[in-house]
Subunit: 355 residues, 2 copies
């Protein structure tokens, strides 16, 4: 199900590389990635006009500038960020709240985006809070892992909610009708994990046909094409994401150094260059620039602070697709189904009673 | 401080590859790695005699066979394992309890080894339970990560205990006098993580000069030589270990496939073969075969069920070194120092009161 061209608020400030790289990413998305969305570019008018002119977007029919005087820095705590009402990030979120945009893309401070998104847009009915969903590369296909860091503390029912969110995100971005869901723990046998995880396992099982649940999975299975959606808490997910990105970097750097150690290896590397390029393209965990904060009344996308123009353009394309496919509507349908089955325990109640 | 040649109970059954590979590892350790320890080989007499004869160890002056009729399987639950009193694993642990050996090496069921070790040997005074410590490779040097899976549920004081255990293990296996300790969480700023982690952070800080504490670290820093000892809970540690091993495997397989796609790449791979070999040798997370269950009254070493002879020989050499250096004595000294400072909160008390 696809709707008309979406309107995306584009927080052009607050990224490490500044508005220049942000607008470069926008230009790339519009000109080469065929982005059809209408874009509201939010930030310092003067700086943005200059950049939009430089990239030939000042007169673009689907690009408009929305002024915002303030910037939320990476050091701002959520409370400080929320007080910066005229910041590009808060103004972008306001545009959704006011019905002037359906989504926002920001490279800024994650904690502030999370706090601002949750307070201004509120979680969808039936949910308590959003989760950050990331696309991970693997050998033959990709998978979705969430929560990648929105909430370090997680209760059992949040894992069930994350499974619903991840399922609907995977349907859109991976194009899989009934994605296989796995719950990440320390072993595949029943009873492996914390109390929290084992209760979550019962919750997710109870969702019945709403979720294509494969059960508990362990670390060895993350990259082995066992599941399309891996559900975990935000503490584990955030650490995993960062550790895998840094392991990939260490391996790449080490191999590069070793390949440069003598002329024979240098020649070898030159001849097999295509293989390295393919690996970097397929398996680099940084390939996907954007991650949505799923489960809010509105679409909030976060890209890395250090994103380059390619990451930003990618993130815009994914944001457009997720909005166009009315992902939140689908999430709402699943939540209603669960509620209809009487299988979704009321938030905070002991799982034993409700199931 | 080094003592006389240690006596190690060697659980020769229960590994995936059977007693043949175990005894092959022992032979490698004795003949090529210059293992000086006395080895009590525990298991089925008949099978072991055959293997020991095959590897020329039947008459070895430092090898003795201890019969045990039963085997704990990988499927046994801890309670089942504990009931198998004449199993090679339980008999090996008994040898420590009876003062006939100082340490045990087993490739068998981790949960049973952990339960048997904890019940038969008891945690050291001042500790509540053991932690599994693993050595990880990185670009320039190695680091220790613990707990890698002994206890999925962790209270704040356990992180402090893990820091003490990890420090003393790193001193022996990495040869660093005052290893840098880091507590793994989702960001480096104060306040990043769960309640549990933030309380643990206060505990570890309170250890003062006993620990060279570097503070909170995030996933990006795991491989960046920020710390020599990374402290985490057993849930996160176990998942990380398995995910990193499988990511390494996926990258290796993918690159291999790509390098075999045409003759030019094949030639290139041949010329640069040394670089791949160096990377596999330096950075393969499976390089180290054994991981000690630290903090018990006796030395318990666990090697992968799938260990080959090289892993087993490595594990024996590390076990000998750890016992020889009286690691547990050093751990006891540190625990006494903490107690003397009055900075170790009583187990289970709210940290606010004690600090």
């Amino acid at each position: 199900m696809e709707s008309a061209a979406p309107i995306i608020a584009f927080d052009a400030m607050g990224a490490d590389k500044g508005p220049n790289e942000m607008v470069a990413g926008l230009a790339l998305a519009l000109k080469e990635f065929k982005l059809q969305a209408e874009i509201l570019v939010v930030g310092h008018s003067e700086a943005l006009s200059k950049e939009l002119r430089a990239f030939g977007l000042l007169e673009h029919p689907r690009v408009r500038c929305i002024p915002a005087a303030d910037i939320i820095s990476m050091e701002d705590k959520p409370a400080q960020g929320l007080r910066k009402r005229d910041s590009s990030m808060m103004r972008s979120l306001d545009l959704i709240k006011e019905g002037k945009a359906q989504g926002v893309l920001s490279c800024g401070n994650t904690a502030c985006l999370m706090a601002g998104g949750t307070i201004k847009l509120r979680p969808m009915p039936g949910l308590e809070r959003p989760a950050l969903a990331t696309i991970w590369p693997s050998k033959d296909r990709h998978f979705v892992l969430l929560d990648a860091g929105a909430n370090p503390e997680t209760r059992p029912e949040h894992f069930l909610h994350n499974a619903i969110l991840g399922k609907n995100y995977a349907r859109i971005v991976l194009g899989i009708d009934t994605p296989r869901i796995g719950l990440l723990t320390i072993g595949t046998e029943e009873g492996k994990g914390t109390e929290n995880i084992l209760q979550a396992h019962e919750y997710i099982k109870s969702a019945g046909p709403v979720l294509n649940y494969q059960g508990l999975i362990e670390g060895f299975q993350v990259f082995s094409n066992t599941c399309d959606v891996i559900v975990c808490d935000g503490f584990t997910g955030n650490i995993l994401l960062k550790v895998c990105q840094s392991l990939f970097g260490v391996l790449k750097d080490y191999l590069k150094e070793e390949l440069n150690k003598n002329w024979m290896r240098k020649l070898g590397a030159l001849l097999s260059y295509g293989a390295f390029r393919a690996m970097k393209k397929q398996l680099n965990p940084e390939h996907y620039g954007g991650a949505p904060l799923l489960g809010l009344n509105g679409y909030v996308f976060k890209a890395h602070g250090s994103s380059n123009r390619h990451h930003i353009a990618n993130a815009l394309v994914i944001a457009e697709k997720v909005i166009r496919c009315q992902t939140n509507h689908q999430i709402g349908v699943d939540l209603a189904l669960l509620k209809g089955q009487g299988e979704l325990a009321p938030l905070g109640s002991p799982p034993g009673k409700a199931l």
